[in-house]
């Protein structure tokens, strides 16, 4: 089962829920029998601001540079025909006289320039825009991506990260921790998932952004959606009423509690700080399994 933890609004507790779920399920399996490799995997897909490693403190075992394949022009072979600039949808190539200029940051790596060059004067080289790291945190398999500072495109790093995803199966749990928002990086995190778990807070901002996120996950991508209400008790009844009206199940509630806020501020997974949450997260896991089955 692949669960993407998303939210629309930032700072609602996605990483708290993603890491809490991973720790609780891995702990429960550990008590029955040592879980096989990749039974529980957490992939932090927020490559702009990755935080899950601060909670899980994984030992990193592998590190790989990733990026975008960008064109390198062999000026000796180039006859200045401008075909590469014509086919580039991103204006990443310009031909000035006999010289071809490549604007690396604009390139999406589609390969059209190289494929369409009649002189075969273009080869592609990986332009590194980030890294993907893999490791373990106890029984939890861990992976995250880190976008280099100053780079605009998160999606190529997320795509590489998804290639590191463990095999899916009914007795396996892959958790993808998504970035906030509803645009292309979030879509990439939701694509191929079995369930979208939305973490929100019961405020007007939380509700507004939840609706946007549901618009992507349920209405655009057709995924089953459930909600975790964090800081339950603050704000108003808007989220509650919206979920009831839309038939979206509220799978878990986390109250506004200073102990929780303090644990999160120090990067302590919720079931470690407050063991009573082991059971809460396990029942969330069961409800996710039911939700996917349906």
């Amino acid at each position: 089962m692949i669960v993407t933890v998303a939210s629309g609004k930032g700072g609602t507790g996605k990483t708290t829920v993603a890491t809490g779920l991973a720790v609780a399920v891995a702990t429960a399996l550990d008590q029955e029998q040592a879980p096989a490799d990749g039974t529980v995997q957490l992939i932090d897909c927020d490559v702009e601001e990755p935080n899950a490693h601060l909670f899980l403190k994984p030992a990193i075992q592998a590190r790989r540079e990733v990026g975008v394949l960008t064109p390198v022009v062999d000026q000796a072979k180039c006859n200045g025909c401008r075909r590469c600039a014509e086919v580039c949808a991103y204006h990443a190539i310009a031909v000035l006289g006999s010289e071809v200029l490549v604007f690396d940051e604009l390139c999406h790596g589609c390969g059209s320039c190289a494929t369409n060059c009649p002189e075969r004067a273009i080869r592609e080289e990986l332009r590194v825009t980030g890294v993907v790291e893999e490791g373990r945190s106890g029984p939890i398999a861990f992976a995250h991506g880190i976008l280099n500072v100053g780079e605009a495109m998160a999606v190529p790093v997320i795509r590489e990260l998804k290639r590191r995803q463990a095999k899916n199966g009914p007795d396996r749990l892959v958790i993808r921790d998504a970035p906030p928002g509803t645009s292309c990086p979030v879509v990439e995190c939701l694509r191929g998932a079995d369930y979208a778990l939305m973490v929100t807070e019961p405020t007007p901002f939380g509700l507004h952004d939840l609706r946007m996120a549901v618009g992507v996950a349920r209405d655009e991508l057709g995924l089953p959606v459930g909600v975790v209400i964090n800081r339950d008790g603050v704000g108003d009844r808007g989220v509650e009423e919206y979920c009831r009206r839309e038939g979206i199940p509220v799978l878990m509630r986390i109250p506004l509690d200073r102990r929780i806020a303090e644990a999160c501020s120090e990067g302590v997974p919720l079931p470690v700080a407050l063991p009573e949450y082991l059971g809460t997260f396990l029942s969330l896991y069961r409800r996710l399994q039911e939700g996917v089955g349906r």
Partner: protein, 303 residues
């Protein structure tokens, strides 16, 4: 005219709460234009009750469309596409062999050039709408990117461009930009051309980590930065860590905003904190605005 961008890296640290209060305070002293650069989760309008005066369509990227009548089903497009956007249809072989996954398509047109039957064309995509509205503090440029669309950076640039135009036309003193979280393309677009960046940070391990990356980003784009620590009393040790880190970089920490449930109360009533109450929270936000003014005037003196 001076442009101030409110940033955070990490989401949910209080950017919009701070930006809206600054808009209120700025409007009492000068003439201000607001820009909501968080186009996929625009929240400023929830506090400002905007009255729309302009609506525009935003054409984002392009999307490949297959003319099924011409398609021979050769599969050249599938081989050419690096984004997995050409999907073979299952079932009856006489049915359309391929379709476009619009969420995966990056609009590169590699498929168009690969198709021997000229069966694929690119179509413009309306990816969102952008608006100019009137609010009680001044004009607001804002936008809604449609669910799951690309090119949020381009839309942010559009919104900001209009905000600047209005500021020039109407001779307004400040443009206040509320940025999205993260450090990628919409954030870079939100930062571009800013005279000053205010980074709202929270005293948590994640907040410290994200602040470091955000400050590296403003440094990369050479935007002068100031820091406000929000909910500083939640974890004084981490707040101190932010202080020391900022000091080591020579970045001023200009406000320490206390945790206060007034923030949520004000939000529920659709008001800014500084309109809602005049407790310690509002006092600190007033101090913050004064500090921003000092720094912006300083920046002016240098140039």
């Amino acid at each position: 005219m001076k442009q101030i961008v409110v940033l955070s890296g990490k989401g949910g640290t209080g950017k919009t709460t701070v930006a809206a209060s600054l808009a209120h305070l700025a409007s009492r002293q000068g003439r201000v234009v607001l820009a909501d650069a968080d186009v996929d989760a625009a929240n400023l309008e929830l506090l400002l009750a905007p009255r729309q005066i302009e609506v525009h369509e935003f054409t984002g990227g392009k999307l490949a469309v297959i003319d099924q009548g011409r398609c021979m089903g050769c599969g050249a497009c599938e081989a050419a596409c690096r984004f997995g956007a050409i999907v073979p249809n299952q079932g009856d072989f006489r049915a359309d062999r391929f379709r476009i996954d619009s969420h995966a398509c990056e609009g590169c047109a590699a498929c168009v050039y690969s198709c021997p039957a000229n069966a694929i064309r690119m179509e413009d995509q309306v990816a969102g709408r952008w608006f100019v509205s009137e609010t009680r503090f001044g004009p607001l440029a804002h936008a809604h990117l449609f669910a799951g669309q690309e090119n949020s950076g381009k839309l942010v640039t559009r919104v900001k461009q209009r905000a600047r135009e209005i500021a020039q036309e109407e001779v307004r003193d400040y443009v206040i930009v509320d940025a999205p979280p993260g450090i990628g393309c919409p954030v870079i677009a939100a930062c571009s051309g800013a005279d000053l960046a205010l980074l709202v940070a929270e005293p948590t391990v994640a907040g410290v980590h994200d602040l470091e990356r955000m400050l590296a980003t403003t440094d990369h784009f050479r935007v002068p930065a100031l820091v406000a620590i929000n909910k500083h009393d939640l974890n004084p040790a981490r707040a101190r860590e932010i202080d020391l880190f900022c000091k080591s970089l020579g970045v001023p920490v200009v406000a320490r905003i206390p945790f206060d449930t007034t923030v949520t109360e004000a939000m529920v009533q659709g008001r800014t904190v500084t309109e809602h109450a005049d407790g310690p929270l509002s006092k600190e936000l007033e101090r913050l605005w004064a500090a921003l003014l000092t720094h912006i005037e300083g920046a002016k003196a240098c140039t």
